[in-house]
Amino acid sequence: MFKPSIHLLNKEIRENNFKGALSIMTFFLFLPALIIMFWLFIKGLPVLSLDFLLQDPIRGMTAGGIFPTIVGTFWLVIISVLVSCPLGVLAALYLSEYAADGRTTRIIRLAILNLAGVPSIVHALFGLGAFVLFLRMGTSILAASFTLAVMNLPVIITSTLESLKAVPHSFREASWNVGASKLQTIRHIVLPNSFPGILTGLVFAVGRSAGETAAILFTGVAFYLPFLPQSVFDQCMSLSMHLFTISTQVVGVPEAYPYATALVLILLILSINSISVLLRSYFRTRRKW
């Protein structure tokens, strides 16, 4: 029989200690998130009701509900995705189907990386300079959505690129061999097969922009508006901004209100993200290759 020497045993103990320490550290990483969720639920749930969701804020935002902020968030998110989705998909198509691996491609990749890394407040400055002032959109839903779209573009490009790359090259070759042009191949082979991945990335981007605050701060979101936006040239309120306002700027807000607002915001984002995760796993099981 083989008996491990003391040296080996020590090694094993050290290894187990190491693994244990790592798993505890990993656990501690997620602990705060769980505690935060739990705590938001406990503090916010008593106020959360249909009335809270469907009423206007009243008495200087110290009472009432958050309806206009939800409407505003929807406007912003939907318009921004409408703008960034086509652009992002085109950019990803170019990178995956057309661009040769050369200097230009490297610069484009670097630009995408930097676009993703630019601080959100710098995006806000850009939105203010470019959309609000230069293109004369004024502080409006349109300007804020465009700013969000610029922020989301790298996210959408990256996720789309990934799903385009996941379509096997043999699919394209088969299509070219039966005489289809490059564009026909893209339209009938590449895009349909990568559609689920693109959709997943899109939903993820929606979740991200729903919570963004800094980028829309000066471009189209108001602290308080007594009416709902009538067109894209109006300002609007947003959930994220509302949370910022009632937790730092307004005095006399009942304690549970910001909790409930935070809870609504986080539930909205988590459910959007869950859709993205579910879509991904659903399509993964149905994938044909």
Binding site: E15, F18, K19, A21, L22, S23, M25, T26, F28, L29, F30, P32, A33, I36, P86, V89, L90, A91, L93, Y94, Y98, A99, I107, I108, L110, A111, L113, N114, L115, A116, G117, V118, P119, S120, I121, V122, L125, G129, L133, V150, I157, S181, K182, L183, G207, A210, G211, T213, A214, L217, S240, L243, F244, P258, Y259, A262, L265, I266, I269, V277
Partner: protein, 310 residues
């Protein structure tokens, strides 16, 4: 293989000639795709252009390099003693970033090691989804958590008058940048070929030895890039830091002092500054500084990751 390439060359030529006769709609769409491809370069250029444009009068006028970067006197709204010194803001940003990275980098890389090397595939999937959720919590909610939860905790634990300070912001920033550090770090570890692990294990190395002696050196650049991207994230974070640091423009003396960061200053003051005024332009100049810093951080991180792949 060489032979084959030359054989197909005439065919490729023919195909190319055919391409030039393709219908107008097709050429239009391909033009559109190409334009889309260049959009990110255009946008980065546009960001730089518009921030320069808005801050230009300040940069050629009241801007004084020495005063701007080396004076702690940020007093843009004063009537007779206007001063634009961002040193205190830079120091505030650095303090918050460094402390948060001291927490987040070790924790994040340890987690990356655990997820990539030690846990079962199923657990890995679960953790990855959890990381995505953690990354999805918006910064304004983190700021809210800083005010409502961490603030009283710090006051109680350390017996200090205010809990909105550098420590608070660093804890929040650490939690916010962890998902990025973990996922980039994990990518770096996965990029190390399995043959490295197998070779080390064949020599009798335990997994601890594989991790520290083989994977750590092999994935060094990628792990460094992960840390750097975390730094970039922490530097650029705005809302959470605005809410968590407390408002005080000063060189902090301890971690329990409130501070102000570059990003938070823009967010807090741009709304009050009259459009086109000097204060407003100075804030755009701060934006320019932030833009350049983020450019440097991202390009360096990319360089590190690329170096690894070669």
């Amino acid at each position: 293989m060489e032979m084959k390439a030359t054989e197909t060359a005439p065919l490729a030529m023919e195909w190319r000639q055919k391409k030039s006769t393709k219908p107008k709609s097709e050429r239009f769409f391909e033009g559109l795709i190409k334009a889309g491809g260049y959009s990110s370069i255009v946008l980065i250029g546009a960001i730089l252009f518009f921030i320069l444009k808005e801050s230009f009068p300040f940069l050629v006028g009241a801007f004084d390099f020495k005063n701007f970067f080396f004076s702690t006197n940020w007093n843009p709204a004063s009537v007779n003693n206007v001063s634009y010194g961002i040193l205190a803001l830079i120091v505030g940003t650095l303090c918050v970033t460094c402390l948060s990275m001291l927490i987040a980098v070790p924790l994040g890389l340890a987690t990356a090691f655990y997820i990539s090397e030690f846990c079962s595939p199923r657990l890995r999937e679960t953790y990855k989804i959890l990381i995505e959720f953690l990354a999805a919590i918006p910064s304004v909610v983190w700021g809210f958590v800083a005010i409502m939860m961490i603030n009283p905790m710090i006051i109680k634990t350390f017996n200090v008058p205010i809990g909105l300070n550098i420590l608070n912001a660093s804890i929040i920033l650490a939690l916010m940048s962890l998902p990025l550090i973990v996922s980039v770090g994990e990518d770096a570890l996965r990029a190390v070929p399995d043959t490295y692990r197998e070779a080390a294990e064949a020599l009798g190395a335990t997994r601890w030895e594989v991790a520290t002696r083989v994977l750590l050196p092999a994935a060094k650049n990628g792990l460094l890039a992960a840390a750097l991207l975390g730094v970039g994230r922490a530097l650029g974070e705005t809302m959470a830091v605005l809410m968590a640091t407390g408002h005080s423009i000063q060189i902090p003396k301890s971690f329990f002092d409130p501070a102000r960061t570059l990003t938070a200053t823009i967010a807090a003051e741009l709304g009050e500054s009259p459009k086109g005024g000097e204060h407003y332009q100075a804030l755009f100049a701060i934006g320019l500084v932030l833009f350049i810093i983020s450019l440097i951080v991202n390009v360096t991180a990319d360089h590190l990751i690329r170096g690894r792949k070669k």
